[in-house]
């Protein structure tokens, strides 16, 4: 029986006290334990930023990569070995800013993996600049007359790009978030969980109470996650209300079932075959 404690590791945590990341980390451990995935069977791949450090703070195999590049790294890892369970941790600036193109491509590829975006609407590690998900006009030390770009709505864009699993969580709702992560990991294809979280150090607008005043759970409504049009509407709710839960879920064909040479077995599982290579490469030259 694997419990969430088994994921605890001794490495010193480097987040600010009160950071929403602690609850996201707890939800991840609970989700892995619920699925009985031991640390040695888990691969976390991350970008750069406070979210990118997540894999260091629990027991797992990990590739802590570069800013914006977690998704193509994870894509390569999954194409090489689809038998691996891959979860990606990124921040909002990481995934939607620096890695925006990769975000779109990952959705279109539909690789069977889970993306957790720690979305605090601010750059934390670089000390408080506007992120793509900051509200238009948000004043920061760098954007001192307010950020001039409108807000990037990741959920709307994910739906528009054809994502088959789009969910939103809130760090403070750790139990609910655990459920979302489990659902995302069980989804056969690319699953996005955008996780709203407070940044206690730099985001003084979208605080925990700001989120709590607006958040409501889709599970308490009659929303049918198969309803794409409704999902689009929900994804556009923001200033007054914030739906939490699975906005959209539809079965699709994951990447490894679209590519003939990935259908049967993982690329990594084949043995080197000198005779086959000789026959195929050199016989007809």
């Amino acid at each position: 029986m694997i419990t969430s404690k088994e994921f605890n590791c001794n490495y010193e945590n480097k987040w600010c006290p009160g950071c929403g990341n602690f609850q996201i980390l707890a939800a991840m451990k609970n989700a892995f334990a619920q699925q009985q995935i031991p640390p040695e069977k888990l691969t976390l791949i991350s970008g750069i930023g406070q979210a990118g450090k997540t894999p260091h703070f629990l027991k797992c195999n990990m590739f802590h990569g570069l800013h914006g590049r977690a998704l193509p790294l994870a894509t390569g890892t999954k194409i090489a070995n689809n038998d691996l369970t891959v979860v990606v941790n990124c921040g909002d600036g990481d995934c939607y800013g620096e890695g925006g193109n990769h975000f779109l491509a990952a959705i279109r590829r539909n690789i069977d993996m889970t993306l957790l975006v720690h979305n605090n609407q601010i750059y934390g590690l670089t000390k408080g600049q506007a992120s793509p998900t900051s509200s238009l006009g948000m004043v920061t030390k760098l954007q001192n007359s307010g950020t001039p770009s409108s807000q990037f709505s990741a959920l709307v864009i994910a739906l528009a790009a054809g994502a088959g699993f789009v969910a939103r969580g809130l760090s403070a709702e750790s139990g609910h978030l655990t459920e979302l992560i489990v659902k995302a990991m069980n989804y056969k294809g690319f699953a996005l969980v955008d996780i709203l979280q407070p940044c206690v150090s730099f985001n003084k607008i979208n605080t925990l109470s700001w989120y709590k005043e607006r958040a409501y759970k889709l599970a308490d409504t009659d929303h049918d996650p198969r309803d794409l049009a409704k999902a689009f509407n929900l994804a556009q709710e923001w200033e007054k209300s914030l739906p939490l839960g699975v906005l959209y879920e539809a079965a699709g064909t994951p990447f490894h079932e679209r590519v003939p040479n990935l259908k049967a077995n993982a690329l990594a599982s084949h043995n080197y075959d000198s005779k086959l290579l000789t026959d195929v490469l050199l016989q007809n030259l």
């Binding site: 195999n61 990990m62 802590h64 590049r69 390569g76 193109n101 003939p260 080197y272 490469l281």
Partner: protein, 566 residues
């Protein structure tokens, strides 16, 4: 005495220049002759001006020819552009509306009309091939057999049509036939005709590379498109990435999971990949990148050739880390280099960059077939059979030789932790000063063994007082220039680099000491000269540099070398 003929087939893009060149090459190959075929084309799909330059000999060829025996002009513009390149006794075959001038130097032939007579105007290129081969004195049966083979898949009707078209061209030019000195007969050849791009693909596959993420870019696309025919029989995946950054990241991600992967690009794409290069270096994840060079910063000349990324490749990405840089000189050498690149990248857990260029990637050359597939390949992953809280697996253990044991994630109890941040032996972020020094030294400690892996440069007459020094694809041009200068009683040798980095300074310094060095390179600043000045302490050198986007010819090197030799 070797027989040696050079042809140029010129016209607009979309007029089938390459089809004619390929057909002629195939007939030559089937007769046991050697070819060196170079394509020259603009960055456009239709129109403009393109040519195929085809040199044919009964001996192995190292370089293309530039003085034409036959100029095939698909349009009149081609004649105006290239007529000065004809050697005395050469002949121009010019496409015309109707039969016209017909003498020893200019032969007007209505290709389209003859093709229509044969049954379809689309066979005009086959008519042209027939005419050329008639002039070269080739028996028609050789061409007919090649055509039948070539069009077999398209059905007998198409094959017959093409044979008829070829006959039209052949008969029209028969009386202009000249004795080229070739022995024309169908001969089972032990040689192969390969391009550098094709050889790179084959070498990668032979090295068990299974994943090819890439973003299209001339002239590197050919490397990846040459993998495609094998995806049916071999379990490999080609994936077009959203950009070059993604391509290199995917290769690194796959390598992390134990699958050999590579990407191919040209300079501009390589610029984008430099952050990936650094990530591979910092995480010590094996990585192979082919950079098929083209000239110019930014977009430059997309379809042309150059050698100006040597220093960039050696230094690309911030800070310092060990890497391999190779620059093979021929297709067969490219095949072998790719195999070594994968082996060495994995053995030392470092990036390996293979420099090609448009000239090497696209030129098709006959070489002796020495290609082999190894009975087995050595992999460098440790069994993942230990690791717990008290004694964790140390991905970055401070090994004396810098090479820490590498394991695959999820292959056993040991947790594989990898990060682009500076890290402790366990793979966790560390900002500790002593650790930073230890890790930097660990990575650098790989260099002495890496240097020992490097093949020394090819030396030709190394005792000569004057040495031509080059790297990569200029190899054949320099070799032929040295041979011809030797024939003119000049005491001259050559030093030709294939393995460029890391460099065995002492050994190379000895070779170059007390010589007049003439650097032969396709860049403006003599990048190899500057590198040798830095590494091997050479004080001065002369240069033969070419940076017009077009390849060298031996003639040019011979002429310039004569001016420079003191």
């Amino acid at each position: 005495m070797k027989t040696d003929v050079t042809l140029k087939i010129a016209g607009a893009a979309g007029q089938g220049i390459q089809t004619i060149g390929d057909l002629l090459s195939e007939v030559c190959h089937q007769s046991g002759l050697f070819i060196f075929s170079v394509d020259d084309f603009e960055s456009r799909v239709r129109g403009g001006h393109n040519f195929n330059l085809l040199r044919i000999s009964d001996k192995e060829l190292a370089a293309p020819g530039n003085r034409l025996d036959i100029l095939v002009c698909i349009n009149e513009n081609a004649y105006d552009l290239h007529k000065e390149e004809l050697r005395s006794g050469g002949i121009a075959i010019v496409n015309a509306e109707k039969p016209g001038t017909r003498n020893k130097t200019r032969f007007e032939i209505p290709l389209k009309k003859l093709a229509e007579e044969a049954g379809n105007k689309i066979t005009a290129n086959t008519v042209a091939a027939g005419a050329v081969l008639a002039i070269l004195g080739t028996p028609f049966t050789l061409l007919a057999d090649v055509l039948k083979n070539r069009f077999a898949a398209k059905g007998e009707k198409i094959a017959t049509l093409n044979v008829a078209a070829a006959k039209k061209g052949f008969d029209a030019a028969k009386d202009l036939s000249r004795n080229t000195g070739f022995t024309w007969e169908a001969k089972k050849s032990h040689n192969i005709v390969l391009s550098g791009a094709q050889a790179a693909a084959l070498g990668a596959l032979a090295a068990d590379c299974r994943f090819f993420p890439f973003y299209p870019m001339s002239p590197a696309t050919g490397v990846i498109s040459n993998v495609i025919p094998y995806t049916e029989k071999l379990c490999v995946v080609v994936e077009q990435a959203e950009d070059e950054i993604a391509a290199v990241m995917m290769a690194i991600g796959a390598s992390f999971a134990g699958v050999r992967a590579m990407t191919a690009t040209s300079g501009g794409g390589f610029c984008l990949m430099t952050e990936g290069l650094g990530l591979a270096a910092m995480t010590e994840t094996p990585l192979v990148i082919v950079n098929a060079q083209r000239p110019g910063p930014a977009t430059g000349l997309p379809t042309r050739t150059g050698q100006a990324d040597l220093l960039f490749s050696i230094h690309a990405s911030q800070d310092e880390f060990p890497r391999f840089v190779f620059a093979p000189g021929t297709p067969v050498e490219t095949y072998e280099t790719m195999k070594r690149a994968f082996h060495l990248a994995e053995k030392y857990q470092v990036p390996a960059i293979v420099l090609l260029d448009q000239f090497l990637a696209n030129s098709r050359v006959t070489e002796k077939n020495s290609l082999t597939v190894a009975p087995d390949i050595e992999r460098f992953y440790e069994q993942n059979n230990s690791g717990n809280d008290d004694t964790p697996y140390l991905r970055y253990a401070l090994a004396q030789d810098g090479v820490s044991p590498q394991r695959l994630p999820c292959s056993g109890p040991g947790l594989v932790r990898v990060t682009g941040n500076e890290h402790d032996p366990e793979g966790h972020i560390s900002e500790n000063a002593a650790n930073k020094i230890a890790m930097t030294q660990k990575r650098a400690a790989k260099l002495p063994a890496m240097i020992k892996e490097m093949d020394p440069p090819l030396l030709v007459n190394p005792t000569a007082r004057v040495l031509l020094v080059g790297w990569g694809s200029t190899r054949g041009n320099i070799l032929e220039a040295v041979e011809r200068l030797g024939d003119q009683s000049m005491e001259i040798g050559a030093v030709l680099f294939k393995d460029l980095w890391p460099m065995d300074r002492k050994a190379i310094g000895k070779v170059l000491d007390n010589k007049q060095l003439i650097m032969v390179e396709q860049n403006e600043s003599s990048q190899l000269g500057r590198l040798l000045a830095q590494e091997a302490g050479i004080v001065s050198f002369d240069t033969i540099l070419k940076y017009d986007g077009r390849p060298f010819f031996p003639d040019y090197i011979v002429q310039k070398a004569k001016e420079l030799v003191k």
